[in-house]
Amino acid sequence: MYFTEDNNYFEFNDYNNEYNDIDFKINNFNFNRNDNNLYKVEEGFNRGNMFKDTYSKYKNHVYKLKVNTDKDKLLYSLQAYTFALKDLNLYLDIYPNDKNILSLYNEYSKTLESLKNKYIKMYGPLCTSDVKNLDKWTWISNPWPWDKGGNK
């Protein structure tokens, strides 16, 4: 073993010296954004944006995904939560100390985890490491994401 937690070559504190968050005082920056500035997960996903104050539509183009099958319903939720986490992720890259968004990120990632487990069990792996089947390498199974009607 090259390093253990006790003997970690990269000390966490070293990183803090790179810059100090106390310096980060810019008037227009809102560190603790309230959750009511955010869309609910599915609405944000439909819009392609979780943040109400940055959403800007083109002409009258607004779309809402329709789902018919159980598989699509589960996939839709999975994609919606993956998307919400992605959008919060980009926000947190700039505002890493926003406690409200951090706790929301935590909440959504737990939901995504359980959606993923359910999906993998019913419809197959999302990543190669999800393959648990001992009879067949199910990673290769159709549909692939670009297959028409596959959606996944």
């Binding site: 810059y19 993956t82 890259d93 999302l126 990543c127 692939w144 028409k148």
Partner: protein
Amino acid sequence: MFRYEKTLEYPINIKTKDLKMAQLLVEQFGGPSGELGASLRYLTQRFTMPDERGKALLTDIGCEELGHVEMICTMVNQLIKDATIDELKKYDLESWYTGHKKGVYPMNSDGVPFTAAYIACTGDPIVDLQEDLAAEEKARATYENLMDLTNDESLLAPLSFLRQREVIHYKRFEELLKFYKEKGY
């Protein structure tokens, strides 16, 4: 490291084949304001970002853009895959077919191959971020032009989604640039 996840960022199920839109949409794969250039731009520029915010943001947006490359290619593939030779001829896609059959090659809508000359990597974070802001705006405008050219909702929904991503990426790059200027980088 990169790991593949077997799902699109946003679902795509194109209802009807449309060779004209396939030819136009390929612009956002291999054109100057396309997603391939976007992903390469950020994933290249990130090595000279001066702090952890920049390293993270360019990595994360760069990865998302790779997902957008996949979405655009999926749309093009679904629009063209069932075309007959006669249909390809009718829409002047003989040169596409000659070089690529129905393959999705990184080129613009005129068939000009992708080039790394579409992106900049100056090593200067302020200059690179200014380029990134312009790139997001150019991509947004291109999506709007494409949306003007179709009535197919199964195309419009993902295009609208992708356009909105340009809006949010612009916003984040703008915040990072503002922060870097304050910090004096």
